[in-house]
């Protein structure tokens, strides 16, 4: 019983940062109608940026986001501007190829600079913990969870409380109609890609604070994050949020109650079962997207 509770608590705490990493990806899918498989490497790049600031300049990883997020925003903006915007035909397939290329380049650069050993964002908070339901929860998990909640709320406010956000949602719902009322759809797309990369920077920092990583971590990350957004319904941010919490709770419960080895596999088992029953994901609606 207490093992089950442990699994649930740690699943929720880590689920938050996965929701953050997935939100950018699902937003890009919604607005640009492409799949950005470079998200995994953008996340790892974000983690390494925080690592570099921490190790060489002794900048606190949370404060460091003031530098890493705008920088990653620019990276995302430029990637869209230079590579993705040019794709006019067969955008989904071509975007997978192009962003995979981007992922390999980022991967190469990171490997060159940081070599391939595992690193971890070491913080004082890592050593503090508090008791909860019979286990000790490291403070860093709580900080990262709270940070994720803050950024997700900020993203929500941007999308649902500003004119810019309304224009962004309009673009996601009907690109052609958006163009006809004077929305610069190309510009919106680049900004969205930038936001996605900035969220990856924050997500990467959170991920690096609670687990160790190296350049190749991108492969594991992108497959998990893709599972989450497919499960949540492509383009659906709320769906990604619920799917993140659900998947991480299931994973952590399986790993604490049963066997750690099974925990990753369970990700894909749940995906396969869900898609067999609901091909549009848990919260996706086919009609809305096809409109």
């Amino acid at each position: 019983m207490s093992l089950l509770l442990d699994g649930i608590i740690s699943g929720i705490l880590t689920g938050g940062v996965y929701a953050l990493m997935a939100s950018g990806l699902t937003l890009v899918f919604g607005v640009l109608e492409i799949i950005n498989v470079a998200q995994g490497s953008l996340i790892v790049a974000g983690a390494f940026l925080s690592y570099a600031l921490l190790t060489y300049l002794h900048i606190n990883i949370f404060l460091g986001l003031i530098l890493t997020m705008p920088f990653m925003f620019l990276v995302g903006y430029v990637v869209d501007r230079v590579f993705v915007r040019r794709l006019r035909v067969d955008r989904v397939m071509m975007s997978i190829m192009v962003t995979y290329g981007v992922a390999l380049v980022i991967d190469g650069i990171l490997t060159m600079i940081f070599s391939t050993s595992y690193v971890h964002l070491q913080t004082a908070a890592l050593n503090q913990s508090f008791p909860l339901a019979g286990m000790r929860v490291p403070m860093i998990y709580v900080y990262v969870f709270l940070m994720s909640v803050v950024f997700l709320l900020a993203l929500y406010a941007l999308l649902y409380r500003t004119t810019f956000g309304q224009a962004l949602r309009a673009t996601a719902q009907n690109r052609n109609a958006a163009r006809l009322i004077g929305i610069d759809v190309d510009q919106m797309s680049s900004i969205t890609f930038g936001i996605c990369a900035a969220l990856a920077a924050a997500g990467g920092m959170g991920y690096g604070a609670i687990s160790s990583f190296h350049p190749n971590s991108q492969f594991d990350l992108i497959s998990r994050v893709l599972v989450i957004i497919v499960l949540g319904g492509m383009g659906n941010i709320g769906g990604a949020l619920v799917a993140s919490l659900l998947m991480l709770v299931i994973e952590d419960v399986v790993s604490t109650v049963w066997l750690p080895n099974w925990s990753t596999l369970i990700f894909f088992i749940v995906l396969a079962m869900t898609l067999a029953l609901r091909p549009q994901g848990l919260f996706g609606s086919k009609e809305a997207r096809q409109q």
Binding site: Q166, A167, N176, A177, L180
Partner: protein, 241 residues
């Protein structure tokens, strides 16, 4: 403000769809383009609204050359397009959709004032203001799309098959609206599948086929042209050389 197209060649990246289209839309006219499926009627409207750029030729409005302008700048000229496919944002409310019609306006007070005026003028918008646009019927959505045009100050409205898929009742409503817009002094360039009804309410008619203009002139002349009967029968109109 006269709209003229001169020798337009345009397409979608592959072969040209429009192959030397020239036509004039007089100020204050209701010009109706008819022609078989695939003739390039929608492509003409998309070229004018700036969604696609012609490979060759000129589009001029009130003496200003506008081909190459962004869709936004063309809106600023007072040219608005209601496309053939649905163009509301289904997950936004009717009111949000209409307000977004004023997206390019900087003055938010003007936007709210115009929104109020549109609500007064189109009872449907007022009644269904808080409902999701996607929950309206096809005809109702079309009317909201018209209403949205009045968030700006339209000089030329491009209507692409406004009656498509409507029941006879809504069809009448939509056509009445087109007449009303025209009567107010807005120039209308409309594409209509229903050749007879379209030409009957129009002042000018244009017949297109195979990416070219085959016939144009006062709508009555076009309507009573000896070869136009073939179009009503769903056939083509290959003019003798």
């Amino acid at each position: 403000m006269v709209l003229t197209l001169k020798d337009i060649y345009a397409g979608y990246g592959g072969a040209d769809i429009l192959r030397g289209v020239s036509l004039t839309v007089e100020q204050g006219s209701l010009t109706c383009i008819v022609g078989p499926n695939g003739a390039g009627k929608s492509t003409v409207l998309r070229t004018i609204s700036g969604v696609i750029r012609p490979r060759r030729g000129l589009v001029q409005f009130g003496g200003v050359t506008i081909n190459g302008f962004s869709p936004r700048r063309i809106l600023e000229m007072g040219i608005l397009q209601v496309p053939q496919e649905r163009s509301l944002f289904p997950q936004l409310t009717v009111q949000e959709n209409v307000r977004l019609g004023g997206f390019i306006l900087k003055d938010t007070r003007l936007v709210e004032r115009r929104l109020g005026a549109v609500m007064e003028r189109f009872p449907l918008v007022k009644e269904r203001a808080k409902e999701l646009a996607g929950s309206l019927s096809g005809g109702q959505q079309k009317l909201v799309e018209f209403a949205r045009c009045f968030m700006l100050d339209p000089k030329l409205i491009l209507l692409d098959e406004p009656s498509m898929g409507l029941d006879p009742q809504t069809f009448k409503q939509v056509f009445a609206m087109v007449r009303e817009i025209h009567a107010e002094g807005v120039t209308v360039l409309m594409v209509e599948q229903n050749t007879k009804s379209g030409l009957e309410i129009a002042t000018h008619g244009v017949v297109m086929e195979g990416g070219m203009v085959r016939l144009d002139g006062p709508s009555q002349d076009v309507l009573h042209h000896p070869r136009i009967g073939q179009l009503f029968l769903g056939g083509t109109l290959t003019m003798a050389k």
